[in-house]
């Protein structure tokens, strides 16, 4: 299923970015270039051919494991992306982590204390988190936690003065796993605001779906039987209701997580965060066709991988779909 999907994405992306207005050559040359020079450049990048022929050339490049050369940066597209992708992945995973922890605690709080004030408070917080899109949260949080109360830096991934050496592009994970906790804290401080802004709308979705699944689960017979065993309400909720309620929640979290990954484009722009979303924006400004299509295809691959992960986690938690 993954390959046809990917091919479809490539066709759509390829055609779409060629039919929209804007010419990469006119963006890269200065005013004095002769029509002859322009024609030569167009030929050099293969842009004088028809779109189907260009696509076949592109497929040929892809089949050799490359995504072409960036027009604006004059570097291999795949290398450019691989240099930036880890930053985006780390941001998305951290956001997912925040959203899951917050969303699950929201749902558990409001179900455990249902009909009392914590439920009302959590439901209100949830509605608020859902009401604003991630980029508005980003601006709001910058104003609150960087400008009014300067707790967090507003841009970048690390402090420019930080001389720490990293062997991979996964700064956050590397500093964590090599136990360099001061570097870890420093990077986390930079990533906190963008990750939270990305996480808030997803938090609300997880909170709502999980809450309604939990309310459904606690009325099931197996919860009645668990209560008849004399277990505490908290144990019944966590051990007997929660695993069942997580099944629908994981599905929706997966689809919403792809939206979150898409949301990184704007968030990275707002926080000047050096990921591929930011790079995609630059590529679009410069009409850098190879870079744009490369990044879009990488996004598509990430989406497909996420969906595979969801299917796998689904089988992990639900024994009824487990394959023997």
């Amino acid at each position: 299923m993954a390959l046809p999907t990917l091919l479809g994405v490539m066709v759509v992306v390829f055609v779409l970015i060629r039919v929209v207005p804007g010419d990469p050559i006119s963006m890269m040359i200065s005013g004095e270039a002769s029509p002859d020079d322009i024609a030569k450049l167009r030929e050099a990048y293969g842009l004088d051919r028809s779109i189907p022929v260009q696509f076949l050339y592109f497929l040929k490049t892809v089949s050799t494991g490359h995504l072409g050369t960036s027009i604006s940066l004059h570097q291999d597209v795949l290398e450019l992306i691989m240099g930036r992708l880890p930053a985006t992945l780390e941001l998305a995973i951290l956001a997912l982590f925040f959203a899951t922890v917050l969303g699950v605690s929201f749902a558990l709080t409001s179900v455990y204390w249902r009909g009392r004030w914590p439920e009302v408070a959590v439901d209100a917080a949830n509605a608020l988190a859902l009401a604003l899109p991630e980029f508005l949260w980003a601006l709001l949080l910058i104003l609150l936690l960087s400008v009014s109360i300067p707790l967090f830096p507003i841009s970048g991934r690390t402090d420019p003065s930080n001389a720490a050496v990293f062997h991979t592009q996964f700064y956050l994970f590397e500093s964590l796993f090599t136990a360099r906790f001061s570097d870890f804290a420093e990077i986390l401080r930079h990533m906190f605001l963008p990750a939270i802004s990305l996480a808030l709308p997803l938090t609300a979705v997880i909170g709502r779906v999980l809450k309604s699944s939990l309310l459904d689960a606690i009325n099931q017979d197996y919860v009645l039987l668990a209560r008849a065993k004399g277990f505490s309400p908290l144990y019944v909720l966590l051990r007997h209701a929660l695993p069942n309620a997580l099944i629908p929640t994981i599905t929706i979290t997966g689809t919403q997580f792809t939206l979150l990954v898409g949301g990184t484009v704007l968030i990275e722009l707002i926080f000047a965060y050096p990921g591929i979303g930011n790079m995609l924006f630059g590529a679009a400004i410069n009409r850098d066709l190879p870079l744009m299509q490369g990044i879009t295809i990488v996004f598509a691959v990430v989406f497909i991988l996420i969906n595979i992960c969801i299917d796998m986690s689904y089988a992990l938690i639900n024994p009824r779909v487990r394959l023997d």
């Binding site: 099931q220 017979d221 197996y222 009645l224 039987l225 668990a226 209560r227 008849a228 065993k229 004399g230 277990f231 505490s232 144990y235 051990r239 007997h240 695993p243 069942n244 099944i247 938690i317 639900n318 024994p319 009824r320």
Partner: protein, 294 residues
């Protein structure tokens, strides 16, 4: 006459509050002696399940006990703090539910569903809990207990699931088991097996059972004593052979007449006169109907 294990007196339960309250149990009196099987029989909607839930303290959140006492081993359960009451469950009072297929948690292995009550409530360690779980499964005549422990509920038949539920109920050697229509969802041959099993374990352990059912045939097979409930009221109670052999109350007679008979296939099916509808829960209508049966 031995002392009652459980004595329910004047129990009233309402759903809703104030003007909109519906009384679903009114003045229920019920007594269970140690080691006896008490049948509680009535139509759907008659309130029989609610009696069981009131005793275990697992009433739905919309229902409240409005009157009466539930004396269990001489303490009034209704006056116990919620936590103390909960701690009786699993140890002294256990439950068997109607739908074996939904009574077990679909995402947990059978082993965890038996051992969680053993380790968390009955003080077993992991190793001895597993051994005892195996023992319990053999006790309910499950042939390959090792394999069943590793399985999930959806891999077992309804009858097997009910055996597991029964094993869990007997695990804490409780003094009272509330069995809410434990055979209704099973097909007839399995029904018989399960009845036999409950009777056998009950005789072996000396546990008292409140057996809630709509099926007089089942009552005749298993119960020592029986109470007939209608519209939230106990109409008649006594020894099973007396109540079924010489029913005093017209409603009991109607209920017996309504049981399909294999020996008289031409007789057809006799409906119980009157209907349990929402309006019946109005006191006036209820006593009217009771009068009409009388």
């Amino acid at each position: 006459m031995s002392k009652a294990l459980l004595q329910v007196s004047d129990l009233g339960v309402e759903i809703g509050t104030g003007k909109h309250a519906t009384r679903i149990l009114r003045g229920v009196n019920l007594e269970i002696k140690p080691g006896e099987i008490r049948g509680l029989v009535g139509e759907s909607g008659g309130g029989k399940t609610m009696v069981g839930k009131a005793i275990t303290g697992l009433l739905p959140s919309s229902a409240v006990v409005s009157s009466g006492r539930i004396l269990f081993q001489e303490q009034n359960l209704l006056e116990l703090p919620a936590k103390n009451r909960r701690l009786l469950l699993g140890t002294k009072i256990a439950m068997i539910l109607q739908q074996p297929s939904t009574a077990l948690n679909p995402v947990l292995r059978i082993e965890n569903q038996i051992t969680d009550v053993l380790t968390r409530r009955l003080g077993y360690d992991r190793k001895s809990a597993r051994d005892y779980a195996l023992e319990l499964l053999s006790m309910v005549h499950i042939r390959a207990p090792e394999r069943v422990l590793r399985q999930y509920p959806h891999e077992l038949s309804g009858g097997m699931c009910q055996r597991v539920v029964i094993a869990i109920a007997f695990a804490g050697k409780p003094s009272l088991i509330v069995a809410d229509e434990p055979t209704t969802a099973l097909d007839v041959t399995v029904q018989f097996e399960i009845l036999k099993l409950i009777k056998e374990l009950q005789a072996k352990t000396g546990t008292a059972v409140l057996f809630v059912t709509h099926d007089l045939g089942v009552v005749a097979k298993i119960c020592d004593v029986v109470s007939v409930i209608f519209a939230g009221r106990i109409l008649e109670q006594g020894r099973t052979e007396d109540v079924i052999g010489r029913p005093a109350h017209p409603y009991t007679q109607a209920l017996i007449a309504a049981s399909p008979r294999l020996d008289r296939p031409d007789a057809g099916l006799q409906p119980v006169p009157g209907e349990l509808t929402a309006s019946l829960w109005n006191d006036a209508v209820a006593s009217d109907l009771e009068q009409s049966h009388a």
